[in-house]
Subunit: 323 residues, 2 copies
């Protein structure tokens, strides 16, 4: 090969390597990620981790996609309620349905966990897993975010999509571990994140096996089987995986135990938090927010030297380009 061609090949390889995270500015966060991945994937390095142990877990709401002004699954619930409202005239005068139909988040929040459970029961329970997936898929391809008017699966963070790919290209298995509904996320996680259903762990309701028209179905129940948030995240990870991840990313106090659990093993480990600091391009919120509150976990990250991503400074771009 002539020298010039060789140089061109080498420089494109170098460019390719540099471009694995093109939406990340060349700040400390990116450097910490790349340094970690290099050391656990370099054969012969003291920190080398064999591929089967390269498990990376990601929170979803606020970590992989946005979560303001309220968790996106809640928009789905409201739209499902609206579709069912004609059969339920009593909802017009009964809380939490009245507030939910009016899009009054504060009113719904005032009804507490019991109210939210009632909404989930009304919109999720009684239907088969297949029917539910169809509903979610239909909604996710048409419903739009009130502020950006984009479909919700376009409100994912471009730098985090790149990170997912970068990790997988380096032999990691990427999992979602989220407080959101497991069945809700599974309906679109493969197409959106490249994460297959069995690698999506979320909050779960009970299921019941039934025969309908001679065919077996699984029917969603109102009873909750796992709240995959806070201390429930290590529980979800253990139930599903049975091994400790070596890499974890979250954005709120609900992720604190998952990060602690990840960091408690032997060998090289990585914990990261997305800090929402960009009021212009996204939202800015942390210690006082009712959605995605980041307070204790931020203190722990600072004390322990975990990576804290400053969205405003660290990310060139927040959302993917409009299609």
């Amino acid at each position: 090969m002539p020298l010039l061609s060789l140089l061109l090949v080498c420089s494109s390889i170098a460019a390719f390597a540099q471009d694995a995270l093109p939406s990340w500015n060349d700040t400390a966060s990116k450097q910490q990620i790349v340094t970690f991945v290099k050391k656990v994937t370099t054969q012969g390095s003291a920190d080398f981790v064999p591929p089967e142990q390269r498990i990376a877990v990601f929170d979803n709401d606020g970590t992989l996609w946005a979560e303001q002004p309220i968790y996106f699954q809640f928009f789905f619930v409201i739209d499902q309620l609206k579709a069912q409202a004609p059969q339920h005239p009593e909802w017009k005068t009964t809380e939490p349905f009245k507030s939910a139909l009016a899009g009054d988040f504060k009113g719904v929040a005032a009804s507490g966990e019991k109210g939210i459970a009632q909404l989930l029961a009304a919109t999720h329970a009684g239907m088969t897993t297949d029917e539910f997936s169809r509903n979610v898929n239909q909604w996710v391809s048409t419903a739009r975010h009130p502020k950006t008017q984009r479909v919700f699966t376009e409100m994912v963070y471009q730098p985090m999509l790149e990170l997912l790919h970068y990790l997988r290209d380096n032999g990691f298995k990427t999992y979602i571990v989220s407080g959101g509904g497991q069945d809700f996320m599974r309906a679109w996680a493969q197409a959106t994140y490249g994460i297959p259903p069995e690698q999506v762990i979320g909050s779960q309701g009970d299921l019941k096996f039934e025969m309908r028209d001679g065919k077996p179905v699984l029917v969603k129940q109102a009873k909750v089987a796992l709240v995959d948030d806070g201390p429930g995240k290590p529980v979800g990870i253990e139930r599903f995986l049975g091994v400790k991840p070596i890499f974890a990313f979250g954005n709120s106090d609900g992720d604190q135990q998952m990060l602690e659990w990840t960091m408690s093993g032997d060998g090289a480990r990585f914990a990261g938090l997305v800090h929402h600091t960009d009021a212009a391009r996204e939202w800015a919120y942390d210690r006082q927010s009712s959605i995605g509150k980041l307070d204790k976990a931020l203190d722990e990250a600072t004390a322990k030297g975990w990576t804290v991503v400053d969205m405003k400074k660290d990310w060139k771009q927040i959302f993917p380009p409009q299609k």
Copy 2:
């Protein structure tokens, strides 16, 4: 390559292909398995299934390893009770502990589900997942079956080990879906079956996240989270996988719903039952057995043409050669 060498290579390839299931006699069961695997893995075949959808699920007790005179996990429970007995003098006179310590299975059975739950709580609850795994590993490498005097992980079925390998060699992902304890099986499933922890689904107790000496741990709770048996098996599969398997093997009525669930999807599918017919080399039992009762599922298998493995006729060898 000289012609002779070429012929030798070709004949060894052919021999290798024929030998994928060497412990299986060349009867209908083996032919049905091989025919199924060939048609779903042949590119261009109408029945071709892409590798990511080649999910195979196996019951454990009575399907991958023996289950007589009682589920092997129960021997573990008894041994754990014996180790703890000096600290619990009251067990000598209290059921179900008295019967369990005496190895009186009938006495334990008489105490019903509540009694069994009490035994599990006493031997599993309160300990961390790490402590429990260590206990199981220690036990499984030393305890021996009362009849054969072999360690329990040598009481696995050689033909089923070959089947697991054969499926994996053909791009399948192999899962355990068992009524046995998930954490109990995960401790040795990788070494014994080549099945990693995240592909072992079983009955589960609740877990609690706690800090002990400043380190996060998960503590096993007495409360049951999933009974992964009968109609609980499709529930376990859906929770963990979110997709329907295309291949399922069981041996009892507790596997019936898993087989129905597997067969209810589109395209080519396989359902198999191990029928315990060999009183000389293993045990012979079916419709009347209190352990691994096979009655309704046998009728359904016959009616629907599912594969029923006759251990006596179909298997050349039951257990692996003694080490």
